[in-house]
């Protein structure tokens, strides 16, 4: 599944004319991410006995959006990070305007990939749902609040809102857009996505417990309570997915990662 995605992504990258800008796009997209969201999409489709190749353009679009959000998060005016996944961030490898513009290009082209897809169905609805989840009321608001609370005291409730918006919304977009494509409506996948997003963030914060960070959830609520919360969130996912063992198995792999 992963190798299918990687090869389709490479085809997509090669669809750009060769120039300095597309070189930067290639650098950042071929950067060896874990491809969690694309795999969620393809695995969900497969677990529902659908042809997962039908949603490959959705998987690519969501990975473009995820990558755009990371590029911008790393910019000097945001988290100001020099490295990601052991490689130079885009603005360090090239420069700030290239990083700014490549981010926006990936966001824009994500909608292009969906809109002109030959296999996706219900494309208006998919674009409407995704853009809502990642726009001013969704993911971007999460990034904004994250910055607003930098170096400020932050309570558990606010931090949870930020995590939900910053991480869970794009996962929600991934799962629900897949369902929309196949004309399936099942509310519980929203809850599953939300829990997945929260588990992911809390796990990250547990790993980073020792770094000083005012917005580390595990520090704010305590390590034990954080671990307990992950268990509860997992429990709920297991319960909700009792009718889709195949997808549960894949989810299980993600949430029991050891790094």
């Amino acid at each position: 599944m992963l190798s299918y995605f990687e090869s389709e992504l490479q085809k997509y990258i090669k669809s750009y004319d060769k120039n300095k800008f597309s070189e930067a796009i290639d650098y950042i997209l071929s950067n060896g991410g874990k491809r969690i969201r694309p795999q969620l999409i393809l695995n969900l489709a497969k677990s529902l006995n659908k042809n997962y190749k039908e949603v490959i353009d959705l998987a690519i679009a969501i990975e473009l959006i995820h990558t755009y959000s990371l590029i911008h998060d790393d910019l000097p005016c945001m988290d100001n990070d020099d490295y990601r996944r052991g490689k130079l961030t885009l603005h360090k490898k090239y420069n700030e305007y290239t990083a700014l513009l490549v981010g926006c290009a990936l966001l824009t082209d994500a909608f292009n990939v969906i809109a002109k897809s030959k296999t996706l169905k219900n494309k208006d609805k998919i674009i409407s749902f995704i853009s809502e989840k990642i726009g001013a009321k969704g993911m971007i608001m999460g990034q904004f609040l994250d910055m607003e609370y930098e170096n400020k005291e932050i309570d558990e409730k606010t931090l949870k809102i930020i995590h939900k918006k910053k991480t869970a919304e794009l996962i929600k977009a991934s799962l629900i857009a897949t369902l929309i494509n196949f004309d399936i409506y099942n509310e519980k996948y929203e809850k599953i996505a939300e829990n997945l997003g929260l588990i992911y963030q809390i796990q990250d914060d547990i790993f980073d417990y020792d770094t000083f960070d005012n917005s580390n959830y595990a520090r704010i609520i305590g390590l034990d309570k954080a671990k307990k919360e992950i268990l509860d969130l997992k429990e709920e996912i297991y319960y909700l997915l009792s009718d889709n063992k195949e997808f549960l198995e894949y989810i299980d792999k993600i949430i029991n990662r050891s790094y």
Copy 2:
């Protein structure tokens, strides 16, 4: 037409929850732009004997995209401008991350406005066309090349490519998306859009002739030649629009602006 657009835009702005982020959106969208593109859209629809209210969501979306491009153009890593239209640029009024994120939010929400519109038709095709014109092969490439050639010698041909991408592509998106909505295909509007974009840029460069700028078209090709080029481009528009006097009349107003 303009007051109809302004009142619909205000309704749109008010659809955001009130908070610091939507305040910044309000600041930049209510900033008194000339609303050239929305007016082109509404006037084109009307001149074709169509109900122009049907494309109001397209007009709003295009204005959001235009505003996003200006916000990012003004950022320190791009043109680093403190003022636009006599008011502080967004990153000066707020801060850089707010400007970065508001820009991306407007871009994202533009696609949301189109995708969930109740009056627009052929929405996939509209989104596909617009995203192509403003993405990595279009407007963003124009912004990228503009930065790449900053403080470098630049020839007439390259500058024309930059102008076309940076300005003409969004005008093209405005006109052609309007036609797509009404199931009309007429290639000449692409040419009209291209000429309009070029006229606009050359006019700007003639006004700014006295400021030192290596990428001033009028300086590169000479003032007389620049003026002659505008006349030729206008002439072609008059010829192409001989069957649509109403739209020509509106275009005439824009291209004969005296500021």
